[in-house]
Structures are given as C-alpha cells and as structure tokens.
C-alpha cells in the first residue's frame, strides 16, 4: 500500500499548528462570515430598533413629555429619553442570537465537529463571543446614528458613545450567557425565540426604559438588570446622574450612576457567565453522562 501525500501541509500538523490566538481568530472569522452570508437577522434587528424609536415616540411622545416634566426631565426631548431603552432592546435581541447559533451547532453536529479538533475550547468560545459582540457594536452604532438623525442628542459626545457601547456590551454579554444557558438546557431554537420575548418585554417595561417609573415598578426594577443598563446609558446620554434605584453620592455627577450600575452588571456577568461556561464545558466534555 503506498502513501502519496495530498499536500505538504500535513507534516506541520502532527504537533498541531494551533495557537490560542489563532484559534480565537478562526472562530471570529467563522461566525462573522456566517452573519455576512445571512445578514437578514442582522438587518431585521436594526429595523426593529428603528420601528421602536419611531413607534414609541409617536405613541408615548405626548404622555412621555408630561411624565418627563413631572420627573424633572422637562428639558429632555422624548426621543433622547427613549434612546437608552431602544439600545437595550437592540442589545438583548442581538444577544439572544448567541444561543441560537449554539443550538444550530448542536443540531447540525458542528458543535461536536469543533470539539473533536485540536482547537482550545476556551478559544472557540471566546472567538464566537467576540464575533457576536462585534455584531452588536455595529448594530448599536446604526441605532445611535438613526436616533441622532431623528433628533436625539448625546450630551457627552464621542467619549460618551464609547461608554454607552461599553455598558451595552456588558448587558449583551449577560444576555448572551442567558441565551446559551437556555440553549443548552432546551436545545431548541423555538424555546430561545420564546425566551427572547419572555425576557425582553417584561424587563424593559419593569425598568425606567420608556417612561419614568411609578413607585410600585421601582421596587421590582431594583432587581432588574436592565434598570442598571438603562440608567447607566441614560446618564451618559444626558450627562447627569439619573440613577433610579440606588442612591450613590460618593462620586460626581454621571459616575454616581455609571459606577454602581457597571458594578452590578459585572457581578451579574460573573455569576451567569460562570453558569454558562460550566454548562458549555459539560456539553463539550467527554464524560459519559
């Protein structure tokens, strides 16, 4: 039996040509290519955010203005007040596609196929997450651009936008973890679809996202991660301390909102992220269970 090499590449692979960063890049590339080839969901998520900006302004505009005046935001136009809510909505919607990608990989066998390669499993996960975070950034920039075109103002300028993106990515990462946990437990795209709605609307409405909160809502809003995301983004949009559920006066102005909100989001990410990583590690492990 004779052996003819198909290529010369083989000799390099016995000790594997893999590096951690290389493995990350491979997976960023794979997931980015997938979004580029199938951009429908990507654009639909931007369209939905645009609809929200237009619809909520049209429907809540007048009521919103009254509520804003009563809550001490008399000089803020409604679309500016609304922008953080729509950014949260876009972030959550996009983040849930992470779990969808995972379930599709589990169903198509690509998950197992990836496990059986010599790639570092951590690198696979980091690569996929980075591609998804990059996707969210592009969508958020489009939404911010549209909102500004429609009359919203961001008081803190370009630096503020960077901060806004940072806060949104923390929220995005949190819900990416949530959607991966749901995906691993249910292993069903339909369930993730349903979970997106289940999380998105109650969490948005039980927060100061659309209009300033009543006292009843405020109690619930304290344990709602979206409250912290909305408050932090709004502080950066308006350039002032707008924290609704915690009263921090240790810092000056914006930081009184942003620092505690970011701390809460980071803590939640650590907890939920640990659960997601644990479940993912178990799904990819070779234990016979």
């Amino acid at each position: 039996m004779s052996r003819k090499r198909l290529g010369t590449a083989a000799t390099e692979t016995a000790d594997t040509g893999n590096t951690f960063l290389g493995d990350v890049r491979v997976n960023v590339e794979r997931w980015t290519r997938k979004s580029v080839h199938n951009p429908t969901a990507f654009f639909l998520e931007i369209v939905v955010a645009t609809f929200s900006l237009v619809l909520f302004t049209a429907v809540f505009g007048d009521v919103g203005a009254l509520a804003l005046e009563r809550a001490g935001f008399a000089d803020v136009n409604y679309i500016t007040y609304l922008l953080p809510a729509v950014l949260m909505q876009a972030t959550m919607g996009s983040a849930f596609s992470s779990g969808m990608g995972l379930v599709r990989d589990l169903e198509s066998g690509m998950f197992e196929k990836t496990v059986v390669t010599p790639m570092s499993w951590t690198a696979v996960l980091v690569g996929k997450s980075l591609a998804e975070l990059a996707r969210i950034v592009v969508q958020l920039l489009a939404v911010v651009g549209l909102a500004v075109a429609m009359g919203a103002t961001i008081e803190t300028g370009v630096v503020g936008v960077v901060g806004i993106l940072g806060v949104c990515l923390l929220v995005g990462l949190l819900f990416m973890s949530v959607s991966n946990v749901v995906g691993l437990l249910a292993r069903d795209e339909e369930v993730i679809n349903a979970a997106t709605m289940l999380f998105m609307f109650p969490l948005l409405f039980l927060s100061p996202a659309f209009i300033p909160m009543s006292a009843d809502v405020e109690t619930i809003a304290t344990v709602n991660p979206i409250t912290y995301g909305v408050d932090a983004v709004r502080a950066l949009v308006l350039g002032e301390d707008v924290m609704t559920v915690l009263s921090v006066t240790y810092y000056d102005g914006i930081a009184n909102t942003v620092v505690p909100a970011v701390a809460v989001l980071v803590a939640l990410n650590v907890v939920v992220g640990a659960i997601a990583v644990r479940l993912l590690a178990r799904a990819s492990s070779a234990n016979a269970d």
Binding site: A9, T11, N18, R30, G109, P118, A286
Partner: protein, 370 residues
C-alpha cells in the same frame, strides 16, 4: 513498488519502508463504557487495527458501534480498559489524538451557512494546517470529492450526497493517519453511495487507515479488508469478509415449498412444519440454522449443498412438496443474521403477512424449478 511514506507519531521520519513499519492505528484492550445512568453501552472491546487497513465495524442498532467510535475520537471517555489511537492514549493525550485523526460523524456535520470552500478553510484552520499550503490543499480536496465547480456555493444548497462528500473532505484537511467514518452513506441514493465508496477507497489507497461503521453489509464487503462484529457491547466475530462468510455463513440451501398442499392453511404454517422436519433431519451443528420465511425454507450450514438430497427426501416423506431449490454461497447478510442479530425471529417474520399470498406462483422466488 511505489515509494511509501510511513507515518510515525511525530511524522518526522521521511524514510522509505513499507506500511508495516507504522504502529497500530488503534490498539484497544478491554474497552468498557458505562453511562452514568447505568447503561452498559460497551462491555468489553479488544481489537487492534494495523496502519493502512480498511477496517469495518458492524453490528445492529444499539450494539455499541457509535459509542466505541466516539471513545476512539476522544468524544467519550472510556470507563474501563486501555485505548490507544495512533500511539496516543485517548484520555491522557487527547489533543495529540485529535490532531492525528479525522472524524466523520453519523449525522452530516457541515456549516450550511458557509460555502464548501469556507467549510474546508475553517477545518484547515481548526486543524492548524499551515496558511501557506491551505489554498492548494483546499483545491485538491474539492477536486477529490468533486465539488470544485460548486466551491463557492453555500453548503445549505447542496444535495444530501454533496453534503456528505463535503463533510468527508473536511475530515481530511490535515491528511490524518486515521479517519473514522460513522455510517457515512446512510440515507444516500446508490449513485451517491458509489461515489463516496470510490472516494474512501482512494484515501485508503493513499495510506490513510479507515475505520468504518456501517449497517450496509454490501458496503463492508466492498470496502473492508477486515471486519469486526459487535453485539451487546462485545465483539463476537472478526476476520476478513471472506473468512467471516466461510466461518459463519456456510452455504445456503433455499427450498421453495408448494403452499397449496392439503396440510397448508397458510404459507407460514407450511414453512414452519418444513423447518421442523428439516431441523430433525439435518441434525445441524452450532453454526447451522434453519429459517422459515413465506413459502421458503433456508438451511444454512457449511455443507448445506451436500445435504440437499437427504433433506429433500425428508420433506417428501413428511408430505411437503418442494417446487424449487437453490444453493447459494453465503453473503455477509447471512453472516450478519447468523451472528449479530439473534433477536430476529424467523417465525415472527413469517407471521408478519398472514396468508396474504396463498398462490405461491404470484411470488416467484429465486430458485431453480425442479
């Protein structure tokens, strides 16, 4: 004799020699795997596959084929025994094993959102194939599996056979020493299956060891140098296809019965009584068997042909008329039925269609008329 390039663990040796210099691709002793719910998927598998062999792994559903292959591919940790693949321990040197094997899962595993070329590029990157040779390597593989003209089409648009071929190609980007094919042709039409067979033969001729599981005995017969049959988590037979046929199958004497006789209330009943007569008359040893199906009785024994006249007489004495007979060389199906699938009850098969075909002329059997 063409030059050969023996594969060693480190692939550093470019010496000339024969393929027998290569270590065993698979070396397994007492492999056991019990799931945490107590299910014993594999009880005791001991086998070794020399480098360069085309090895077939057969068995009925649930016998432990896929579990075994997943242990070899590092996807499941064995709960007992020693498993070495390409000289590496599957649990202690997992990455080394992964880098040295190709694995084609039972379900077609490709990314349908990516093109054929992109799927191969991802696989190249995942297996650390050097960038310098990547483009050439991808083109070679696309040619090998006949997908060059649709290289830039998303794989989701492919037919089942094309997807399988792409899947097989992605398992080979790194030119592995050993490739696992888990029921690679299930669900394909015969034409697509033949193309894949050609392809598997080609990669084996190029020196890759192939470990194939299949339900199609014709596939095993066509492709494999050697086979092992697994049943209830244990290997019950192994050898070349011809050896297995000789050892287990023997010759097959098929007798076509006249079902219209007075004794017959149905074909099945005739078959049963004929089978009973034959069992008494033939006094078969362990590897012989008598099977009754509708209107026919099959006697499997190493000397079934020789015994034919005696058996015909015995049937005549019992008042059962024989309308045709045929002596056939065993096929792997016979081997499989005899050793792997004891649960199939030939009488139950006959009961499956009670009295539907009373007129045996309407159901011609492949037999020579007497």
């Amino acid at each position: 004799m063409p030059t050969t390039e023996p594969r060693t663990d480190h692939a550093e040796a470019e010496s000339t020699g024969t393929s027998t210099d290569r270590p065993h691709s698979i070396d397994v002793e007492g492999l056991a795997l019990t799931y945490s719910d107590g299910t014993q998927a594999v009880e005791d598998v001991t086998l070794s596959v020399p480098a360069g062999e085309f090895f077939g792994f057969l068995g009925p559903n649930g016998a432990g084929k896929t579990t075994t292959i997943k242990v070899f591919a590092t996807l499941l940790e064995p709960t007992g025994g020693r498993v070495e693949v390409n000289g590496h321990h599957v649990t202690e040197a997992r990455t080394a094993v992964r880098a040295s094997i190709g694995y084609m899962a039972q379900e077609t595993s490709i990314d349908e959102e990516l093109t054929a070329r992109e799927n191969l590029a991802f696989a190249c990157d995942a297996y650390g194939v050097g960038r310098a040779n990547r483009t050439q390597r991808i083109d070679e593989l696309l040619d090998l599996v006949d997908l060059a003209d649709v290289a830039d089409t998303p794989a989701g648009n492919f037919s089942g056979g094309m997807k399988k071929r792409l899947d097989a190609a992605t398992a080979l980007v790194h030119d592995p020493d050993l490739v696992f094919l888990d029921e690679p042709t299930t669900g394909l039409d015969p034409k697509a299956r033949n193309r894949l067979w050609d392809y598997f033969r080609r990669i084996n001729e190029q020196g890759t060891t192939v470990f194939l599981t299949t339900q199609y005995l014709e596939e095993a017969d066509q492709l494999c140098d050697r086979l092992a049959v697994i049943r209830n988590g244990r290997i019950v037979e192994d050898g070349s296809p011809d050896e297995l046929k000789r050892r287990v199958g023997g010759e097959v004497l098929e007798l076509e019965l006249d079902g219209s006789g007075a004794r017959a209330d149905s074909q099945g009943a005739t078959g049963e009584s004929a089978a009973a007569v034959l069992r008494d008359a033939a006094a078969l040893d362990d590897c012989g068997s008598v099977e009754a199906t509708e209107g026919t009785v099959r006697v499997t024994a190493p000397d079934a042909g020789e015994r034919g006249p005696d058996l015909l007489l015995a049937l005549r004495d019992a008042g059962i008329s024989v309308t045709g007979f045929d002596v056939a060389e065993p096929t792997l199906d016979d081997v499989f039925l005899a050793i792997a699938d004891e649960s199939v009850d030939p009488l139950a098969a006959a009961d499956g269609q009670p009295g539907t075909e009373d007129d045996d002329t309407s159901q011609p059997q492949q037999a020579v008329d007497v």
